[in-house]
Symmetry: C2
DNA sequence: CTAGGTTACGGCTAACGTAAGGATG
DNA sequence: CATCCTTACGTTAGCCGTAACCTAG
């Protein structure tokens, strides 16, 4: 099993499952039927598993095919979220509905919302600016964007807000780190006195951490890095414990590449809030997006 | 924005972000540096967004690049789960650790577990059989597989078991269906008297539904279909309300393509259980998998 | 005969590697 | 001048569409 599969072939497989024949799936993909046949055959070779039961009256998925189609649908859903989010970033300036979001919200929440919004309001083009929390507030107040999404702890002045979710910072270490097998919760004072891998000053993650550490005796950071993935990489390499958003490390923790250390006596929760100009009524698409965001 | 991006290019982008230069990312991918340069450039053209800040001392991700890399990492994680799961299906027979799982568990839970198991026990090859719940029990009792995973409601005789998660059946309709705007919860009797789109008899989903309907006056099914995706397709087309696992419709509900109808007075929850031969001790890899599965 | 499938073949796109050219500390 | 990136170029591999053939109801 070398290379990763290509998404077009996975889409083709899913379509065959739903439409019942290679020919119809080919039409849906805008290619000729023999091309679709060959692509699926190649996918079967590459995965080493038979996927279709072919008959002169159509094709149905084998048991393995149903499984693969199910897993493929999840890959495709993630890919489509990516494409929608990229489209929103590209249209940042000239869109019908302009919003700004901080990194964490933009990365983990916004793509989902866009999917549902697009379904409810198919014609609305969303433009997305990704900036830090302070800039989100500035753009909303300045009227550059209609709606903003920020991560706590503080909600800026002069803005109406609604909580749309909660996040918390977590301490993670490489699986080989002594703390990975800890059974007793880590105390805040102990964490503060340990050199850590953290995000750069000014990021929402760092600010939440600084606030929680205030008043504690503390060690300087071991490493300051400018992106979540860089911090994760350093933690996995065993450099030191890292502090990051629970969203950001979800996948690594699920896969066992990082281990979350239980923590006590330190509040690292933070609200994720939608904000808009106080007293100004929202346009219809903005109200829809807000309602979508609030429901999840 | 036509076609979907290809996964190799996304991997390349993520690697550039983590490794700091196109050259190192190229080496990681096993291709020449100019090829990597061209691929990323093509990705930028295709997405219509600048992704890299190129300098003579390396390349760093732009703000948009960091976003895209974050979203790409999620797509890649899903793709890798798919590949691991396919490998397990392919090795069904001749693996070190052989397990059997029913559809729902195999589709939504097993890929995650495999990721973590592979991390904890890198050398273990897992073989996965996907069969219905009754067959899972038979294979465990017959010694064909060491561990099984079934969806309730009944736990087979003669097997030790442990609950590894919970699922529930949900009622979903197309967004245009009258029930989509319902505010009051649906009563069990009303649901039973409505023609539905359901899975075929013998599937775990169908059995749970039949059990819940027992004693109620009921209408026949509107459609019986052999796969979750077929049922979802019919529901989206507006054929009738459908009843499916919450896991199965998660993505569609999040994207607004299906709407969940609130339900009262009918217990459609079901436990997902690991099962093994009573009195037989588990091998080390099986025990590890069980512990991984139990923790999530 | 129709509706579905595969095989065969020629054309073209696209990805690769090597080699050469340009910028920046 | 060392490093990293890009452009140029020739080769190769893979995908596509058309056409021909096969099979079952």
């Amino acid at each position: 099993m070398r290379g990763l599969p290509d998404l077009e072939s996975l889409r083709l497989l899913v379509d065959v499952g739903e439409l019942g024949s290679l020919g119809r799936a080919a039409k849906a993909a805008g290619i000729a039927q023999p091309s679709a046949s060959k692509r699926v055959a190649q996918l079967e070779r590459r995965l080493g598993v038979p996927l279709l039961e072919r008959t002169p009256r159509g094709s149905t998925l084998t048991t393995e095919g149903k499984m693969v189609a199910g897993w493929a649908a999840q890959v495709l859903a993630a890919a489509e979220e990516l494409m929608r989010a990229v489209a929103a970033v590209r249209h940042a300036g000239r869109a019908h509905l302009r919003v700004a979001a901080s990194m964490t919200v933009a990365e983990y929440l916004v793509p989902r919302w866009l999917g549902e919004l697009q379904h409810r309001e198919p014609d609305v083009q969303v433009g997305l600016d990704v900036v830090n929390s302070a800039d989100v507030a500035a753009r909303v107040l300045g009227g550059d964007v209609e709606l903003g999404f920020v991560e706590g702890p503080s909600v800026p002045e002069g803005l109406a807000s609604r909580v749309v979710g909660t996040d918390r910072l977590v301490v993670v270490v490489a699986p080989g780190h002594p703390w990975a097998r800890r059974r007793t919760a880590l105390r805040g004072a102990e964490l503060a006195a340990t050199p850590l891998v953290v995000r750069e000053p000014g990021s929402g993650t760092r600010e939440t951490l600084e606030l929680a550490f205030s008043g504690l005796h503390r060690a300087g950071p071991r490493l300051e890095l400018g992106s979540n993935s860089a911090v994760k990489g350093a933690a996995q390499a065993g450099a030191a414990p890292a502090v990051l958003s629970a969203y950001a490390v979800e996948a690594e923790v699920a896969a066992g590449r990082l281990v979350e250390v239980p923590l006590a006596g330190l509040d690292l929760g933070r609200r994720l809030c939608a904000v808009w100009r106080r007293g100004r009524s929202l346009t219809a698409p903005a109200a829809t997006l807000l309602s979508v965001a609030t429901q999840r």
